[in-house]
């Protein structure tokens, strides 16, 4: 095994081009487990810890450019306002020690259906900025996950950053597990209200081979909210609409039975989380809508 230690982003891209089989290591919280248990013996480890810009973030007009290695702890502490869904999801990852090392770039690299960043990114809207010596491109988050633990990266590409849309409305993240800390999701659900575009977006974890959006449920809800004038009148969402939304979310899953839960439990739980997160975010939207009206 060789340990490659590029001191800059350009050096890292050059190393990855020269050794396409090299395994990048950022926080190491996925990679080191595999090496410790001899599940993986890469020829090259490509250490990204010395590439300082990967731990930086920039808050722009519409989105946050989040460096691939920004640890979850920093997302929770510094980006709760801009990225509330991702901050909530980050807080559910493992433990403080893991959150001090692990980040979204590693979560995307592993692309596990259970990764907690994914539902939040899908719901908020995001693009993954990847780069190689050949150039840079942005992959829409909906196209990033290509299979169980597979993603759209080419062999010579590295993840530079994720561009996540800044929240323009309330966001929630909900996760089912056996305890509060150190738990891989049985299933998870992210939901974001986007009042500017009058849309609702979702993200589901651990309930299909890849993280997915519940697109049919989103379309139904967007139409129902528009039709009922809900975005303007700020009324409570009709229970039948919430129920139909939850049912469609459950139907969009394609879960499996495994040690953490059965497929039917997962489908059921996704429906419950969908209804709850919709209720929570809508209550919060109505609250803020009322205050702005009152203030105007």
């Amino acid at each position: 095994m060789d340990f490659l230690r590029p001191a800059s982003w350009e050096e890292a891209l050059a190393a990855k081009a020269e050794h396409p089989t090299a395994v990048p290591i950022a926080g190491g919280t996925d990679v080191m487990v595999e090496i410790n248990f001899d599940h993986r013996r890469p020829e090259y480890l490509l250490d990204l810890n010395r590439v300082g810009e990967l731990t930086d973030w920039e808050v722009g007009e519409d989105s946050v450019r989040l460096g691939a290695s920004v640890p979850y702890t920093h997302i929770m502490e510094h980006l709760r306002g801009e990225l509330p869904g991702l901050a909530l999801a980050s807080h559910t990852v493992a433990s403080p020690q893991i959150r001090n090392r692990g980040g979204v770039g590693g979560n995307l690299g592993t692309a596990s259906p259970a990764g907690d960043a994914h539902p939040a990114l899908l719901a908020a809207g995001a693009e993954v900025e990847v780069e190689s010596v050949r150039g840079s491109r942005r992959i829409p988050i909906d196209e990033f996950y290509t299979g169980v633990k597979r993603n759209a990266l080419a062999a010579d590409e590295l993840i530079r950053a994720v561009h996540v849309k800044k929240a323009d409305g309330p966001q929630q993240y909900s996760k089912v597990g056996t305890r509060n800390a150190m738990v891989i999701a049985v299933c998870a659900f992210g939901l974001a209200l986007h009042p500017e575009t009058r849309t609702v977006r979702t993200g589901i974890g651990s309930a299909a081979p890849t993280p997915v959006r519940a697109k049919a449920a989103e379309e139904f809800l967007n139409a129902a909210l528009e039709e009922g004038g809900f975005w303007d009148n700020g009324k409570i969402i009709t229970p039948s609409v919430a129920k139909q939304f939850a049912d469609l979310c459950a139907a969009s899953c394609n879960p499996i039975d495994d040690v953490r839960g059965t497929a039917s439990y997962r489908r059921h739980a996704v429906g419950i989380m969908a209804r709850r997160t919709l209720t929570w975010t809508w209550e919060s939207y109505r609250g803020t809508a009322a205050t702005t009206e009152g203030a105007a």
């Binding site: 095994m1 919280t29 893991i98 150190m182």
Partner: protein, 178 residues
């Protein structure tokens, strides 16, 4: 490969390090610092917790090569680290005894003993490092803060109540001291 880094204030050089080796292995097997425990090697138990450039991490999940040029504090150096923090400067030499023997205990260590928070002791080094870092950041933690900060450290013996007592005791003593 060779790895140069600072452990408990002293420059260290580890030779013949395998590229896939963890920081935990280097500390225990190459530098003679067995304080950090190896229980799971998968980030689940926290018994290998050390500070890397001040930040608590599981040393079993840090690749040895990643610590080149960086600073690590282990439980062996906790007493000195706490002392330096209390007087606001760092002693130039680091401690005499590498393994921490013969030095006075850190306040958090004394509190663990006084509260009876140590049974088999396997989880203790990781808990001490994590608890000490929390008290540095947050001198008046609520019970919820303590639970959160220690949520990555498992103990199979104590049932955690005495550990909670110990951290509350250390916080109270820290409050009295200032």
């Amino acid at each position: 490969m060779r790895v140069n880094f600072t452990v408990n204030g002293r420059p260290q050089e580890a030779d013949d390090v395998w590229e896939g080796e963890s920081l935990l292995y280097v500390l225990r097997e190459r530098l003679g610092l067995p304080g950090s425990k190896n229980a799971c090697e998968q980030g689940e138990c926290g018994s290998c917790t050390v500070r890397l450039d001040g930040v608590p991490v599981c040393s079993c999940l840090v690749a040895a090569g990643q610590v080149e040029g960086r600073e690590v504090v282990t439980v062996e150096g906790l007493a000195d680290y706490a002392k330096e923090r209390a007087c606001g400067h760092r002693s130039p030499e680091g401690q005499d005894s590498q393994t921490g023997e013969g030095t006075e205990l850190a306040p958090i260590q004394q509190a663990f003993i006084d509260a009876g928070a140590v049974q088999c002791g396997f989880c203790t080094p990781g808990l001490l490092v994590a608890a000490d870092e929390m008290l540095e950041r947050n001198p008046n933690p609520s019970d919820a803060d303590i639970r959160e900060a220690l949520s990555g450290n498992l103990c199979r013996c104590t049932g955690y109540e005495k550990i909670m007592d110990a951290v509350r005791l250390a916080a109270a003593r820290q409050g009295e001291a200032v």
